[in-house]
């Protein structure tokens, strides 16, 4: 089974790597936004130098990591789940359903291939630019770096789980673009992409830190910044694993319910 998924992931990587101009344009755009938010955060941390327990270098690093992760974790939506939504609308999903592999695994493998490509291009690009122009922090130890790598994979899977559920709404609504927009709005706000969750006050902060979106940007960024140590680090990764398990379980359940629906419609 594993070689099959690896092959799917490899093909997906190659598919995304065809569009070089789009990739360069994307890195440029991410960098422009990185620049704008860096100046905004520098102004904020100048007024309030230890807001949220970050110093100004942490804050700027957070900005550039966010830009680097934006496409890698497909925060706005996109990735193979968009293909799935389209195939549900057209009815082609019937073909996917009689493949001898699980639908979730098939699309997850493809999405991991996509994420790997986006990490190497749209991820490394802004990180280098942030490093050169804003002297962003690098992980301070090998443990942090390794933990970040694990955390990043988990972040992609959490994001995939949410996007898969959104795509599945097409089984009932036919057009999933409404839910896709909706979930994109939540993802930007509650992941820390718009403002680090550590700056959210009171109960809103506590709520935001517990929702699955926190596992997509806030947690990997904090791991990179070295905000956790020892058991705290293990706890952060467990938080991500918990959401992976919950979301994957829900995906399978929803898919089972949806499959009955497809049969009723006759594909």
């Amino acid at each position: 089974m594993l070689p099959l998924y690896a092959a799917v992931a490899r093909r997906s990587f190659r598919r995304y790597s065809t569009y070089t101009a789009a990739t360069l344009a994307g890195i440029f755009t991410n960098s422009v936004f990185g620049l704008i938010y860096s100046f905004a955060y520098l102004a904020l941390w100048k007024e309030s130098p230890d807001a949220g327990g970050y110093d100004k270098i942490d804050a700027v690093t957070f900005v550039w990591l966010g830009q680097a992760l934006l496409m890698t974790v497909a925060l706005w939506g996109g990735g193979t789940t968009d293909d799935l939504a389209e195939r549900i609308r057209t009815g082609d999903v019937a073909i996917d359903l009689y493949r001898p592999t699980g639908l979730v695994g098939w699309y997850l493998a493809g999405d991991l291939g996509r994420a790997a490509y986006h990490l190497l291009t749209r991820g490394l690009g802004p990180t280098f630019i942030g490093l050169i122009f804003f002297h962003i922090k690098l992980p301070s130890s090998a443990v942090d770096a390794a933990a970040f790598a694990v955390s990043l994979v988990l972040a992609v899977v959490v994001s995939f789980g949410l996007r898969f559920l959104v795509a599945c709404t097409a089984f009932w609504l036919l057009d999933a673009s409404g839910p896709r927009f909706f979930s994109g709005a939540f993802a930007i706000f509650f992941s820390g992409m718009m403002l680090p969750l550590v700056l959210f006050p009171g109960w809103l902060g506590a709520l935001a830190q517990a929702l699955p979106w926190a596992a997509i940007i806030q947690v990997p960024n904090d791991v990179w910044l070295g905000q956790y140590d020892g058991w705290g680090l293990a706890g952060a990764l467990c938080f991500q694993v918990l959401w992976v398990a919950l979301l994957m379980g829900t995906c399978e359940t929803v898919l089972r319910a949806a499959t009955r629906k497809v049969v009723v419609q006759g594909g």
């Binding site: 360069l24 755009t29 904020l44 007024e47 949220g52 999933a176 909706f182 994109g184 718009m194 809103l204």
Partner: protein
């Protein structure tokens, strides 16, 4: 068909314009009807448009739980800046945002079909996929702008500058959408490049320019005149001195900047269309 309608309405240039506007609204109406056929999705998209942009402002508001001012501006003053820029961007986005898709039309060969139709190409490209749901985003921008207006001590001249500011903001973003989308006549898969200037221009002007280095502000004034969508007229509306000590008459120059951007955009568009050779596939 263009000739007929020009003749019937009399004045040659006026006729061209009315024909363009009528064609635009015909195409737009078709898209509105199409989008209403998936009702739940349409409703969700309108609400989420409001929500995305709404949460964007909530982000700013949350920043102010750690601040009293950002770059010397209070939250309500930033609402004025934010609103002026966003109203312009959102209206331009509603009316002509689809111009971004030109690369896709080139790839799929649809641009060739469009060129054979008796409606101006720019009208067809802009009206394509007309998305009524973007009213969700416009209403958010209008609400923030209205709140920001309470920061202003109104006089007749300030009312005039405010009106010109909103119109110029729309025109400048219109020009940026068209001009930077033209890059796709040369590289068809670079939609995102234009986003850096349109949505990026909106984001950069949501904050007071006083938070950026002086060179950047000068660049946004003299090279790519995005600062005129809100910064200079708002300095006048709020009765503030320019933190960068640039001449005060710049505060009245938004309409000129808008005219220049529009002119350059139209030239770029015509140059791009002339350069266009079909993919032939």
């Amino acid at each position: 068909m263009a000739e007929v309608s020009t003749g019937s309405t009399g004045a040659t240039t006026g006729g061209g314009w009315t024909f363009a506007i009528r064609s635009y609204s015909d195409i737009a109406r078709l898209w509105v009807r199409a989008s209403l056929s998936y009702r739940t999705s349409f409703a969700l998209m309108t609400v989420s448009g409001f929500l995305i942009t709404g949460l964007d402002f909530v982000g700013l508001w949350l920043m102010f739980s750690h601040l009293t001012n950002l770059g010397g501006f209070s939250l309500i003053e930033i609402a004025l800046l934010y609103g002026a820029s966003s109203v312009g961007l959102r209206i331009a986005d509603l009316l002509i945002g689809s111009v971004e898709q030109i690369g896709r039309h080139i790839r799929t060969g649809r641009l060739d079909q469009m060129l054979t139709k008796p409606v101006p190409l720019l009208v067809q490209v802009c009206a394509d996929q007309f998305a009524l749901r973007r009213f969700g985003q416009i209403s958010q921008a209008v609400i923030v702008f209205t709140w920001g207006c309470f920061a202003v001590d109104w006089t007749p001249s300030r009312v005039l500058v405010a009106v010109l500011m909103v119109v110029s903001s729309g025109v400048i973003f219109f020009g940026l959408f068209v001009a930077f989308s033209c890059v796709q006549f040369w590289t068809t898969d670079s939609t995102e490049f234009a986003n850096a200037f349109t949505y990026g221009g909106n984001t950069i002007t949501q904050y007071p320019l006083s938070i950026y280095p002086a060179e950047l502000t000068k660049g946004l004034t003299f090279l790519l005149p995005i600062a005129f969508v809100n910064w200079y007229p708002c300095l006048y509306l709020l009765g503030r001195d320019d933190p960068f000590d640039l001449p005060p008459w710049l505060q009245f120059c938004s309409p000129i900047a808008a005219a220049v951007v529009l002119g350059v955009a139209m030239l770029t568009w015509h140059h791009g269309v002339r350069h266009y050779t079909s993919t032939g596939s």
